[in-house]
């Protein structure tokens, strides 16, 4: 097949409508949040004292951190899905959530006597956290990997890791509404491990699925 024949062939294949990428990402985000909500409310549900908890800064801070993570990872994953996008411009926002968490941990260590630290780190729900953040996040991750496949990432593994952080941010936001361990020490330990697992899974998945 010479190049002119190829061009005529490609021109003949233009009746299939293709969804624009930005539209696909917003659709994927909506679908992912809906999936996460269904799994969350079907399995865990809100904690019983959620109204009282909403008055406490530690509980609310969890949502600030997880939604910041989700929003910054969304921008990064979307940027990495275009071959020419300057994703390095949005990458620094990814540092906001970890920085907030680091400050919260520092303040918590100042507020609590050292003897109380181990109990706050271990908490009551570490295994629930490690099981349910990945469980809630796996559906959203699949949706985002399909969005990456629809795009054209030149660094699939990196894009997949960003998709994993995005799915992790969404899952952790839901999970935080169930969990009674509100200390930043708990969040920095167990949430981080669970979300890192999703990021690794996303990197591995996208390396296979999002090649083009």
């Amino acid at each position: 097949m010479d190049t002119n024949e190829l061009i005529e062939t490609l021109v003949a294949d233009t009746r299939q409508p293709v969804a624009p990428l930005s539209f696909v990402w917003w659709g994927a985000a909506g679908l992912a949040i809906a999936l996460a909500a269904v799994i969350f409310f079907a399995t865990l549900g809100l904690r019983p004292d959620v109204a009282a908890a909403a008055e406490t800064p530690r509980f609310m801070l969890k949502f600030v951190i997880t939604t910041m993570l989700g929003a910054s990872a969304f921008g990064l994953a979307r940027g990495l899905s275009r071959p020419d996008e300057d994703w390095r411009g949005v990458a620094p926002y990814l540092a906001v959530a970890p920085a907030l968490l680091a400050i919260a941990v520092f303040v918590e260590l100042l507020l609590l006597p050292p003897g109380a630290w181990p109990a706050k780190i271990v908490g009551m729900n570490s295994m629930v956290c490690l099981a349910y953040i990945p469980l809630i996040g796996i559906g959203p991750l699949a949706v985002f990997l399909l969005a990456l496949r629809h795009g054209a990432p030149t660094q699939p593994a990196l894009a997949g890791a960003a998709a994993g952080l995005l799915a992790g941010g969404i899952a952790a936001t839901f999970y935080a509404a169930h969990c009674t361990d509100d200390s930043p020490l708990f969040v920095a330990t167990w949430y981080t491990i669970a979300i890192a697992g999703l990021a690794a899974l996303g990197a591995a998945g996208a390396s296979r699925l999002a090649r083009w």
Binding site: T3, L6, I7, V11, A12, D13, T14, V18, H150
Partner: protein
Amino acid sequence: MYGNGEKELARLLRTAIAGDERAYGEFLRCAACLVRGFARRKVGQGGIDPEDVVQETLLAIHMKRHTWRDDGPVMPWLHAIARHKLVDAFRRRGRRVEIEIGEIAETFAEPEPETVSNREIGRALDALTPGQRSVVAAVSVDGNSIVETAERLGMSETAVRVALHRGLVAIARRFGRD
């Protein structure tokens, strides 16, 4: 920033995405020239045919044309896709060299006749299902239109379009996979 060529290319691609086949053909011919220059400069004596890179890039442009931002410049987008496909070609070439060393004895014993179309994309045709292959070959190598192909193969136009599209997707995916 990118001059008149950039503006004209962006206009062609925008019109093409809106459904204008002539604009699309013109855009792809311009893109082929640009990518050919790029590929020839980069390939050097690497044992890669630059025209293979041109064809694989055109196919990738076609499959991923929705990843272009219609308010953004075309050149950097085109360049990013071409570079991605060039890296692919180098990687495959590296792998193939290893295979060939192992198969030298066989090659000597049984000299393969050179086929007319031994381009990578031509070879990828062989991996398609028989139905897809006959449609893609009728449109590409024989230069038939969709309507002519439908008449010749006794298929509906829609079935021809679907088979052509799936065949091209399969070829593009074959290049992406390894």
